[in-house]
Assembly symmetry: C2
Homo-oligomer: 235 residues x 2
Amino acid sequence: MNGEISKSLSAENAKELLNSVDAFLFDCDGVIWKGEKLIDGVPQTLDLLRSHGKKLVFVTNNSTKSRKQYAKKFHSLGIPVNEDEIFSSSFAAAMYLKVNDFPREKKVYVIGEEGILEELEQAGFTALGGPADGKKNIELKSDCLFEHDKNVGAVIVGLDQYINFYKLQYGTLCIRENPGCLFIATNRDAVGHLTDLQEWPGAGCMVAAICGTTQKEPITVGKPSTFLMDFLLQK
Amino acid sequence: MNGEISKSLSAENAKELLNSVDAFLFDCDGVIWKGEKLIDGVPQTLDLLRSHGKKLVFVTNNSTKSRKQYAKKFHSLGIPVNEDEIFSSSFAAAMYLKVNDFPREKKVYVIGEEGILEELEQAGFTALGGPADGKKNIELKSDCLFEHDKNVGAVIVGLDQYINFYKLQYGTLCIRENPGCLFIATNRDAVGHLTDLQEWPGAGCMVAAICGTTQKEPITVGKPSTFLMDFLLQK
């Protein structure tokens, strides 16, 4: 899908490449679409690959949507893609917990958006935080005590447009005070094209904030991570 | 002021120490006060030092207040302290700009609270952001364009209980897009005792968030920094 590589491929080389590869992994932002617009040539390329029986996987670090929501986006752009062909970092976070036998009775605190909550729920985990904590304010009084759920066993941090002091304190307390609590980053992208015209702070911003308070480093599950590649290879 | 050191000082040693030192630097949180309560023995110790003609400096990394506001806090606790005996990280940030001849026609964007704005104003600089941007929301539409002031020449990041996506984007755009824009951290404390009973995310949290989006490291002006020590030594 990269312009420069495409140019240097002769018709013969392209055929050879096609024959030698069983599965194609695609990034989404900037490869399939830019904002809400489909990139030229994408539908034809995908049709061609499908007609040759190739397996397609669409990978995205943007954790704000679930696979279901991404499938809807693909359909709205006129591309038929199944949910199980999509690998979003929101899904990756839920799969990390599943693969590592995260106890079902434990809870997960989310600094992030709807996509992570949906994937956690679909994988059978109990999630707290996310959009529900987006408008919570704290009034700091000298004798106030901020309580957190001692049963939270993992904090997942992704892109969160509604980041606030409440969520930062909640996530920090879980990681610092709940024994063995995991700290999972959907990804660490510094910025991302949330709109057509410019970049915005990415998950790397929120993840760094929690690194700053906890002085801990997260497990990263999106691109580039060994978890993602291992998981896709086993699929 | 440290309990262990005090115990190991004999009366004679203490006298020797007192005679050999002209100025005493005190931390505030946990040394002078804890939350809103004065620590035992503080007024007597300070009186003793003053009666021997010692210079006293009160240093604090908490940037939410200005020196003026700290002087008020000292007075309310029954300790007479002058504004010019206080060295807060909010003041340190303004002094960094002054010492480095930051152009008066340039503006400063603040991720932080009232204290930084007050110190900037008192030092004759034009500040944007801070509490005024605490309730600003962004509605992300594909064609929206977030505008920032191209005349911002420095971004100061301190503790901000009202941190939000708006401020993170504003600060990031200034640092990434305004040529030569400075990135100044009041301090990088991971957490701080904002209330009596527990710790809360410190300036290190907000600073790390901006490091995460800009992929740049700040100039730190509070403890521990060479700027602070050099400035105090010259005073």
